[in-house]
């Protein structure tokens, strides 16, 4: 539905030129939700603005619904934009218009008859749960309500694709979650293709099917969300994920680690389970087969798009060769292990 081919965007010329996007290739399947994630300054905003040509790529081609936007003249581009909705971090509602007036604007632009506009507004008010605020002005609305109006407005002309530019970054977590639910709902009910940019892993995790990690203007990894969270393919992906899923040793543990085990200590291991559960069966298995005792110090389990990701920090209490065998066994089960250090035996 959306396809970027070798999209490059350079600001300025000569020695002062800054490359905001480098050879970006991205494909968003019809009816899917793709999230582009990256730190600020990575080029996310430029990328999404290149999709509807609010910014024109210096090189490369942009396709939306099989139409090459980069090949269109101004008039044809405006027509094409009627089929691409967009919402923004700061909502960008017209303060001079009521909720109804804002939602109807895109239809006025294409000359839809008044009666049809009113009918469409009613449908959208219903869809976004705004019926009671229909005649309020944006200034009287909360952030979440404003974004709902913006979503309704973006959907007014029945677009095939929706672009979300940090749409939840100005909202509190609760409102964010409600807006994400609405977007997911719209995606499923209308089959609308969504491309969003965000710096929040939580957004990607909650609603995206595909994730693209952007860093320094280049897409470094594009993968299904479940795969990315359980098995990032690149170092950048791992780092980004670690920041999000961080299971850091507690201060008390760090203290014990720094005191060290002085030769006869036991290892403290961080285990990462991808795709399988932290089953008690496994724990029992390690104990019974290897005679290894695990003292679980910290643990966390996440469910991402139906895939489980478990993180655990545990003391491995047993003889050295037992520990080695157990570690080898864990590796065959695709459990990642990382020795954080050694501590004195608990008792």
């Amino acid at each position: 539905m959306i396809r970027l081919e070798n999209v490059t965007r350079v600001y300025g010329q000569g020695a002062g030129a800054v490359t905001a996007l480098k050879d970006v290739n991205l494909e968003v399947a019809p009816g899917s939700i793709t999230g582009v994630i990256g730190v600020s300054g990575a080029g996310k905003s430029t990328l999404i603005r290149c999709v509807n040509l609010l910014e024109r790529p210096t090189r490369g081609r942009v396709f939306v619904a099989d139409q090459e936007l980069t090949a269109l003249n101004k008039e044809a581009l405006r027509k094409a934009r009627h089929g691409i909705g967009m919402i923004f971090q700061h909502f960008n509602l017209l303060e001079s218009r009521t909720v109804r007036g804002n939602i109807g604007l895109p239809l006025e632009l294409i000359g839809t008859p008044r009666r049809d506009i009113d009918q469409r507004i009613d449908e959208l008010l219903e869809l976004t749960g705004l019926a009671e605020r229909a005649n309020a002005y944006p200034a009287a609305l909360s952030g979440g309500q404003k974004q709902r109006v913006a979503i309704a407005r973006a959907l007014a002309s029945n677009p095939k694709a929706l672009l979300c530019d940090e749409a939840t970054s100005a909202l509190d977590p609760q409102t964010t979650s409600a807006i994400l639910t609405l977007l997911r709902d719209i995606n499923q009910r209308l089959g609308l293709t969504i491309l969003l940019i965000t710096h929040e892993m939580e957004v990607v995790r909650t609603i995206c099917d595909q994730v693209a990690l952007i860093s320094g203007g280049a897409l470094v990894e594009t993968a299904p969300v479940g795969d990315f969270f359980t098995r990032p393919a690149t170092e950048e992906g791992r780092l980004f994920l670690n920041d999000f899923l961080q299971l850091a040793p507690s201060n008390a543990l760090l203290q014990r680690l720094s005191d060290g085990g002085a030769g006869n200590g036991v290892p403290v291991v961080r285990l990462t389970f991808r795709g399988q559960s932290l089953s008690s069966e496994l724990m029992t298995h390690l104990e019974q087969r290897f005679g290894l005792r695990l003292h679980i110090l910290q643990a966390r389990v996440e469910n991402i798009q139906g895939r489980t990701l478990g993180l655990m920090i545990a003391e491995f209490d047993g003889d050295r060769d037992i520990i080695d065998d157990a570690m080898a066994h864990l590796h065959t089960l695709d459990v990642q292990t990382e020795v954080l250090g050694h501590v004195q035996r608990h008792d």
């Binding site: 094409a80 960008n92 200034a139």
Partner: protein
């Protein structure tokens, strides 16, 4: 004050209204057009034409830097060509309107600059034409600023019209000059000044009311 003087003052009030309203309407309409042109043709704007922008900007600056009293005299040949005479109430409309245009243009440009850029971007993302952006986004969103600009302009024109009155345009300025000043009638001077104060006050209050009503917050 004689009843003849009272009639004279009432006529003068009507003349002043005529001058201010007519030149105000012409100046504000053309000034808004020029202000919009200044705004949209600037670099990176919706109809970016930097060369044209510099020309308009220069014209506006020249127009604003000439003191009204000089502008009025300098425009006399043009006024005579346009309306047949350079003396009289209707003739005074020409320099008043022309003085108002660049004045309004700068105020309008300022009001448009206050419209958040995100709104224009949103309209562009909906496929709005530049004309649609101007009429459906920029001007409505800048409404409060535009009303303020109109208020300031009308008040300036009340002052300018009195100046024009001193050289034959009629209106309160003429009465104040001819009767209050030249024939030393302090009562006439006082009354005309008071009437102008009331007019300015009234325009300001009306403007404030309209700005307040246009703000939905």
């Amino acid at each position: 004050m004689s009843s003849a003087m009272i009639d004279r003052i009432l006529d003068a009030v009507i003349d002043t209204f005529y001058l201010v309203i007519c030149s105000g309407v012409i100046g504000i309409v053309l000034g808004i057009m020029m202000g919009v042109a200044l705004y949209v043709t600037r670099e990176n704007r919706i109809m970016a034409l930097p060369a044209l922008n510099r020309v308009i900007s220069l014209i506006v600056n020249v127009g604003r830097s000439v003191p009204f009293i000089i502008l009025m005299l300098a425009l006399a040949p043009f006024t005579r060509w346009l309306v047949g005479s350079y003396i009289g109430t209707t003739a005074a409309l020409v320099p008043l309107s022309i003085a108002a245009i660049p004045f309004v243009a700068r105020l309008v440009e300022g009001a448009l600059n206050e419209v958040p850029h995100g709104l224009i971007e949103a309209a562009e993302s909906m496929g709005a034409t530049p004309w649609q952006i101007i009429t459906r986004v920029l001007l409505p969103e800048a409404r409060g600023g535009l009303i303020t600009a109109a208020t300031i302009t009308i008040i300036a024109l009340i002052g300018y019209s009195a100046m024009a009155g001193a050289i034959g345009a009629g209106g309160l300025g003429a009465v104040a000059y001819n009767y209050g000043y030249s024939r030393y009638n302090p009562m006439v001077m006082l009354v005309t000044v008071l009437i102008m104060v009331v007019m300015v006050q009234g325009v300001q209050m009306l403007g404030d009311f309209l700005v307040h009503r246009s703000r939905h917050r």
